[in-house]
Amino acid sequence: MTKDKLKKEEPPHIHIGFDKNELMLKTFLMMSIIALASIIVMGLDALIHIMIALGTVLIVHSTIYSYQVWKDIEPTYRSPASPMVAGMIVGLAMPIAAPFEVTAGVALLTILGFKYGQGKYFKRKYLNPAAASKVILLLVLSLKTLNEGLLFHTHHIDLDLMTATGLQSSMWIFSRETLPIIGFDLSPAQSLFLWQTHGWIGGASSIVVLIVGAIAAYWLRYKWRIIVSTLVTMTILAAGMGIYLNGDPILRIAFHVFTGSLIFLAFFMATEPQSTPMTNYGQYMFGFFLASLTFGLQLLNVLGGSIIALVILNVFTDQFDKIVIKKPYGHKGVKK
């Protein structure tokens, strides 16, 4: 008999055939569409930022992978798909005005410190790698600003988002945009939604992020409750603030929801699986607090409010998972 040759295995013995690398590659593909839109809107600089970020992570990944293979260690990432996603996120999460070497630095910190490092020393990514790296950059920037005797970064020093007129006058940066080919002049709100040349590279066209993000979230089953909760909360807060201050609620919504930092972050960073809650209610709460905290930090003129909010909430992910557990079958109430 063939006693010795048979393998003992538990069920199941079949698999759907979709794996982590495929998930990462498809995510990368979707983000590439956003990257293309950003390059069209923002130009060559956007391409350079993205290529620098991608190049940095790929060099680091290839070096570590080669070392692990050489030393006969099980490679942390067999495929470059996951590092490529991290690189693309870094590229798209950088402000277009950032120096290229800063992008390279953030990408290096992301891949080395928060992707490989977190996984190795904490067995899991508790913080979103790109967000955590950017927070470190912001800390350095803030220290520099404080050292110069300023409370806010020079980019944000004149912003006054606590009044209707303050917001209106701060919008000069989003005015004077014209849609190419058709030559349509855009209002700041329209610019924020369609075509913005200021801010995050990934948020150059909010409408593209919305469409591509929604398709990706459906197709790849992202944690959509976080996206919905974040965007809905931010919309309500912005509209409420606009009405309360007798200002333009549409402009408020456009500013708070469609600045690149929030719209891109909501779809592609706040849904990063490892650092976000698993439970349905936990995800709704996470999105609610992410939007609320971001809104608060934006009103206070804090540079990188959404990124800081995300990293703070990442820390509490496990607590969110404990808040409310959905009722399983058998606990929903007997229907006789």
Binding site: K7, H13, K20, R221, M278, T279, K327, P328, Y329
Partner: protein, 432 residues
């Protein structure tokens, strides 16, 4: 039959069931009685039987060879005529450890020791017949059928012909080959239960089983077509799907006035009542990745190797043999392992067949397992708590409500066998 290519699960996940396609057209191949039968004393949920025969004793096909006292006991019968070669511990494919079995060597002329006569108009006698015939849930649950039939206050009796597993079709085949017999068994069950409503749950489409449907209609049996989904085949979920009633956690369908029985179980009762034959044989689907599905009628206690040999397969070409289906069956360490009365499937996989769980990656917390879970628990969080041995957290996460369907593992992009942690979690949560 228009078998769909996929089952649709929660979270928009699909399960490939293309291997079922056309397999129901293949008639049962009736295998010869084995030269040696290994009959386990434990082939039901409940108290284990004790052998009622001794080593060296002659036995006849259908003779009771193991029984015990108590409500949750079901006797076992000899599947062949021969001599008791020994009574010893043999690896049990479901208990996953050695267990007592009576080993019978075929000898002499084949005969049948018929079951005693019972009054089929008397509820109690039908229940007694069910027990005496050794009938258990033939879909794989092995719950003593007489215990189910003895339930009082049952208003609805569901016949589960859903057959959800991706590589099993033997129930549909049985409906094609033995429609009248199946309905006869269903009616006997309904009589014992006193159920006003009989619902026949099937995944077949209207007109695909014309004869059976005609007989059902004549007999006042309601035919309900269940949506193509793997998880709906589970007893509790089927009750909710068909009747909109939830079976509360920690209880069973009879507690809410519903009894569910498998179609093969109904056929076994027909055989016991009208042919006076206890459960000594049954139909199953044999699936190999090389040749697809074949339907086989075998004697219980037949060794897996002998089944494969009878079907003309070279056992050396396979490296995994599984009693049951691809989703829920356990692989066995030896081809000398016997089939049980509740073995609805046998699966043989060659070394070329993928081993999807061989290289597991760390959990990425994508939540796919949570989305697909048909009972709405959180397999990924349970896995974490199982590893940390946090019993309180496991209970809070309602691990005991897991139906062990395996869908969480099936969709995991990190190829983690989460099911293992759900079993582990259940064991830990059960402890006082």
């Amino acid at each position: 039959m228009t078998t769909p290519k996929h089952f649709e699960e929660k979270g928009r996940f699909q399960m490939d069931i293309s291997m079922k396609m056309g397999a129901e057209k293949k008639p049962f191949k009736i295998l010869k009685p084995p030269k040696k039968a290994i009959v386990f004393m434990q082939q039901h949920i409940g108290k284990c039987n004790l052998p009622t025969v001794n080593e060296g004793e002659k036995v006849i096909t259908g003779q009771k060879i193991g029984d015990a006292e108590g409500k949750m006991t079901v006797p076992v019968h000899s599947p062949i005529t021969g001599v008791v070669e020994g009574i010893r511990k043999v690896y049990h494919p479901v208990l996953n450890c050695p267990d007592t079995a009576v080993i019978i060597r075929q000898e002499g002329e084949e005969g049948l020791m018929p079951l005693p006569s019972f009054d089929l108009n008397d509820r109690n006698e039908i229940i007694e017949l069910t027990r005496e015939a050794g009938i258990v849930g033939m879909g794989g649950a092995a719950f003593p059928t007489h215990v189910k039939l003895a339930c009082k206050g049952v208003d609805t009796f569901i016949v589960n012909a859903k057959e959800s597993d991706p590589n099993l079709v033997c129930d549909v085949r049985l409906m094609i080959e033995k429609p009248r017999e199946v309905v006869s068994g269903i009616k006997l069950m309904a009589k014992a239960l006193g159920a006003r409503r009989i619902v026949f749950a099937t995944r077949t489409h209207k007109g695909e089983l014309p004869e059976l449907e005609k007989i059902m209609k004549e007999g006042g049996i309601e035919v309900k077509r269940v949506r193509p989904s793997y998880s709906v085949g589970s007893e509790k979920l089927l009750v909710e799907e068909l009747l909109g009633r939830e079976v509360p956690s920690g209880t069973f369908p009879p507690d809410i006035g519903v009894v569910v029985n498998n179609i093969s179980t109904a056929y076994a009762l027909y055989k016991a009542a009208h042919l006076k034959e206890p459960v000594i044989s049954r139909g199953m689907s044999f699936y190999s990745d090389k040749n697809g599905i074949e339907n086989v009628w075998f004697r219980t206690g037949t060794m897996v190797g002998e089944v494969l040999g009878s079907l003309g397969y070279d056992i050396r070409k396979f490296d995994r043999l599984i009693i049951g289906s691809l989703m829920m069956g356990w692989s066995i360490p030896s081809s000398e392992t016997p089939l049980l009365k509740y073995s609805a499937g046998l699966t043989a996989l060659s070394p070329e067949y993928p081993k999807p769980y061989e290289k597991q990656l760390p959990c990425i917390r994508c939540g796919y397992c949570d989305s697909v879970c048909p009972v709405d628990i959180y397999p990924s969080l349970i896995m974490k708590e199982d590893k940390e041995k946090d019993v309180k957290a496991l209970r809070r996460l309602k691990v005991m409500d897991c139906i062990e369907c395996g869908l969480c593992s099936y969709v995991c992009p990190s190829h983690i066998r989460l099911t293992k942690h759900l079993w582990g979690g259940k064991r830990k949560a059960k402890r006082p």
